[in-house]
């Protein structure tokens, strides 16, 4: 069985070596020294080859300007470079920007761009592209960045390789979103004066990244090819990236297992299968590369609900949930209990001295009794309807877990199932729900992904993933506003600490788990996970390791 697999893999690899050789012959014309196939095989890591990657679900568009959905970003990260990239500690490192300076008052940010970078269509990349993108995308239609960049009053480009942002008030989180998908830079020459939402290049993107868009066959695959003119010499290693769309989880597991797929980010298979695949010597399961996202699973209480408006009831529910068991049983250990809305991966902002709700059924019952909701003859205090995020069975099972947990303290839960359109409308638009599971990416700064769940300014706008609970707290609102324009990092930390203390005391929204996404990839790949925003970044460092073989 194993032997057979190896042979098949060998067959594919032989084809890839031939393809690589042809590619290099072509590359010779543009000045790259061709290596013979024999020499390449002798190297430990070699150039060339096609990497098949799982893409799930099928993206809506391939340009990250308006769509923050995961599949779009996973592909786009290979096509578009950001000004910076983020290491595992979420510190920015140079990409299109070689250097940058933030003025001490936080009101000026200067980027020094790499020179000689070209768009995939051959046109030179310049500061004008950055300026145009900031003004027309980051500040306007980008779903997440608008508030971060709204204080940028002016963008100066003294020369082609310098961009200066001038702000009316400081906005420190800007430095946390400057990668290729957080602040995408689009080619001005292809977008200027067009309807950005409907620009045809949204689906055949032109970037500066290590891979060039070749084809998107809907329902089947997206194909990218090596960018021979990439600014980082010698990279990327791979000739081709094939993002294959495989909707069924069992089929994805089978494809990975068989070696038809060599890289699969973003929880491609059920946890139980991940456990199984991780034991295969040919495969690796890795939870690194998602640090930039910091996903948090939480429970939104509708604070207008007749029972849930009582903070004691919300606290009781918090005590009734065994988050460690939830992480273990439902999430198979690919999660850890969350104690704050600011995930622990945001080391600077995460506060450990906060009100806590340890698993304590007695305390929960006592709180409910105290709130006046006694058990009736059937042992039921009251009934709630639960809406789970319709993003798959893990969320459904989380709902089922909550149902059973709350039953133990006398709260009867009916689970309501619906698709995502209905869920969003119910929770964020109609607010016709009792309590719901949801998840948000926190990103490196609470300003980006955390505060939106608590700021009352979002109420009434019907915007997804914002303040679902209907929470209003003047002090919390004020802290959010202040931290947004605070130029002093230490002060910001203090403000966020107070914010965490308030919202965790009121628990309009209960942090449940910090999720660990995982990727599965073939053991003969190197350089697959190199940085903290890897899944949204490029595979320029990825390469096959050649196990020397007789054929």
């Amino acid at each position: 069985m194993m032997g057979r697999d190896r042979q098949v893999a060998g067959g594919i690899r032989r084809r890839m070596v031939v393809a690589a050789a042809m590619m290099m012959t072509a590359a010779a014309a543009v000045g790259v020294l061709p290596l013979s196939a024999g020499n390449a095989a002798a190297q430990e890591a070699r150039k060339g080859g096609t990497l098949s990657i799982i893409l799930q679900p099928e993206p809506v568009t391939l340009t990250p300007s308006t769509n923050m959905a995961q599949p779009t970003q996973v592909v786009a990260g290979n096509i578009f470079d950001g000004l910076v990239a983020y290491d595992f500690d979420l510190k920015p490192k140079p990409a299109l920007a070689e250097r940058w300076e933030v003025a001490p008052d936080g009101l000026t940010i200067t980027f020094h761009l790499r020179s000689g970078v070209k768009w995939h269509d051959g046109k030179p990349f310049s500061a004008a592209d950055v300026k145009w993108s900031l003004e027309n995308i980051w500040k306007t239609i980008h779903p997440r960045n608008k508030s971060l960049f709204e204080n940028v009053t002016q963008v100066d480009t003294p020369d082609d390789s310098t961009v200066i942002l001038r702000l009316s008030k400081p906005s420190l989180p800007i430095l946390s979103v400057l990668n290729g998908v957080g602040a995408p830079i689009l080619p001005k020459h292809l977008y200027e004066g067009t309807d950005i939402l409907n620009n045809p290049y949204n689906n055949k993107p032109v970037g500066t990244g290590p891979f060039v868009f070749k084809e998107w066959k809907r329902g089947e695959y997206v194909e990218l090819a090596r960018n021979p003119d990439y600014w980082e010499a010698g990279k990327p290693y791979l000739d081709r990236l094939l993002f294959r769309i495989i909707p069924d989880a069992a089929a994805r597991a089978a494809a990975i297992e068989k070696g038809e797929i060599q890289y699969a980010p973003y929880n491609p298979v059920p946890f139980r299968d991940a456990e199984r695949l991780s034991k295969l010597p040919r495969l690796k399961v890795d939870t690194r590369g998602y640090e930039w996202l910091s996903p948090l699973l939480y429970l939104d209480f509708n604070v207008e609900n007749q029972y849930l408006k009582d903070v004691r009831v919300r606290r009781a529910i918090a005590h009734a949930i065994d988050r460690a068991a939830l992480a273990k049983i439902v999430w198979f250990g690919y999660a850890k209990p969350a104690i704050s809305p600011v995930p622990s991966s945001l080391v600077t902002f995460h506060n450990t001295k906060l009100p806590q709700y340890p698993f304590d059924v007695k305390k929960a019952e006592a709180l409910l009794d105290e709130a006046g909701f006694k058990r009736d003859a059937n042992g039921v205090r009251f009934t709630l309807t639960h809406d789970f995020l319709p993003y798959g069975d893990d969320y459904r099972r989380t709902g089922e877990f909550l149902k059973q947990a709350l039953k133990r303290v006398g709260i009867e839960v009916t689970i309501r199932s619906q698709d995502s359109a209905a869920f969003i409308k119910r929770v964020y638009v109609d607010r016709d729900f009792d309590f719901a599971i949801s998840y948000n990416n926190a990103f490196p700064d609470p300003q980006i992904g955390v505060v939106r769940a608590f700021w009352s300014g979002w109420l009434g706008t019907g915007t997804p993933w914002t303040n679902g609970s209907g929470y209003r707290n003047a002090r919390a609102d004020a802290l959010i506003q202040e931290a947004g324009v605070e130029g002093d990092p230490a002060k910001r930390i203090a403000e966020f600490n107070e914010f965490q203390d308030i919202v965790l005391g009121d628990v309009p929204s209960l942090p449940l788990l910090e999720l660990n996404f995982f990727s599965v990839y073939s053991a003969d790949l190197q350089g697959i996970v190199e940085q903290g925003d890897q899944v949204y970044s490029s595979l320029k460092n990825a390469r096959f390791v050649d196990a020397p073989k007789a054929n």
Partner: protein, 322 residues
């Protein structure tokens, strides 16, 4: 013939109107719209962004205007634009249609040939072991959920035996062309077509057996025997042809259901067909696309039914189109 065609055309128009009406309003009853889905998937959104989306999708118009506009487009054979996918609906459908037709055609072909053969065999050996085995196997295929069969086939034939690919339609990474590509697609086609076909195989086998036995009981079979025709020839020439008639009728009726089954099979096997496209369009509230697909599938169903009627007249001289 002319009246027949005219009637078919009238039927087609009625069916299409009905589908447009039912689906348009039904789908508008659905909570949430495409802008919300898109915003939801984005992981973040601003009210301004959502407003822009709605304007772009035409969702800011009153419902009846949206409907009239849609009908108007249809009249000019314009299926509209999928804002979500940023492509014209007709282009999206045309991209996927060949895959679906290939899958459905192969599955039906397989089901027909194998099902009728098994039914034929069972009827000729009625009451014997062969018949019992065939009948039981057919019932089992019939009773087993399609998706379950699909997953099991993948596990056995792709993962364990490693004979066939797990899913998809081509080995994209291999860059095949010409005859090699045809062979490659054929390899990818085997499992999904068999999975989809097995259920219908069971139906046809059962139907064929019953029809054959029914025909065997008819007077003209006795006549044929009385004139000394060989049993084998009776089976092939006299019984088979008459027994095919109900099969052909069923085929026409079931076509719609096969497309429904394709949703499951295409999902399990990552087959890039219309069924899956319709499924995702439904959840993404991509109404233009969903309507377009339902439309096209209805057109296909009606067209195939016309073809079935024509085949019927060939098989049964008693029937005349009119």
């Amino acid at each position: 013939m002319l009246t027949y065609l005219r009637r078919s055309a009238a039927q087609l128009v009625f069916v299409l109107l009905g589908i447009a009406l039912i689906n348009f309003f039904l789908l508008h009853l659905a909570p949430g719209d495409a802008a919300q889905v898109l915003a939801g998937e984005s992981g973040a959104a601003t009210p301004e962004y959502m407003e822009a989306l709605r304007r772009q999708f035409g969702l800011d118009q009153p419902l009846y205007i949206q409907f009239l506009r849609y009908l108007g487009n249809l009249a000019t054979f314009d299926l509209g634009y999928s804002f979500r996918q940023s492509l014209p609906v007709s282009e999206l459908i045309l991209q996927r249609l060949p895959a679906t037709l290939l899958l459905m055609g192969t599955a039906i072909g397989f089901a027909l040939v194998a099902g009728c053969s098994l039914g034929f065999l069972a009827a000729r050996r009625a009451g014997k072991l062969t018949d019992t085995v065939i009948s039981i196997v057919a019932l089992l295929f019939y009773a087993t959920p399609v998706f379950w069969v699909g997953i099991m086939l993948i596990v056995v034939f792709s993962v364990i035996l490693d004979w066939l690919p797990v899913g998809g339609m081509t080995s994209v990474e291999a860059n095949l062309g010409g005859l090699a590509l045809v062979g490659d697609v054929a390899l990818h086609l085997v499992l999904p077509a068999v999975t989809l076909g097995l259920f219908y195989l069971a139906i046809y086998a059962r139907l064929m057996r019953a029809a054959m036995l029914e025909v065997y009981g008819q007077d003209f079979v006795r006549t044929a025997r009385a004139k000394g025709v060989r049993l084998r020839r009776i089976a092939w020439r006299h019984v088979l042809r008459n027994a095919l008639l109900p099969i052909v009728t069923t085929l026409g009726v079931q076509l719609g259901s096969i497309l429904g089954g394709a949703v499951l099979v295409e999902t399990v096997f990552s087959w890039p067909g219309l069924g899956r496209l319709a499924f995702s369009a439904l959840f993404q509230r991509d109404l233009n696309l969903l309507l377009g697909i339902l439309f096209c599938s209805s057109v296909v169903v009606v067209l195939v039914n016309i073809a079935v009627d024509l085949v019927y007249t060939l098989l049964d001289p008693r029937i005349e189109l009119g």
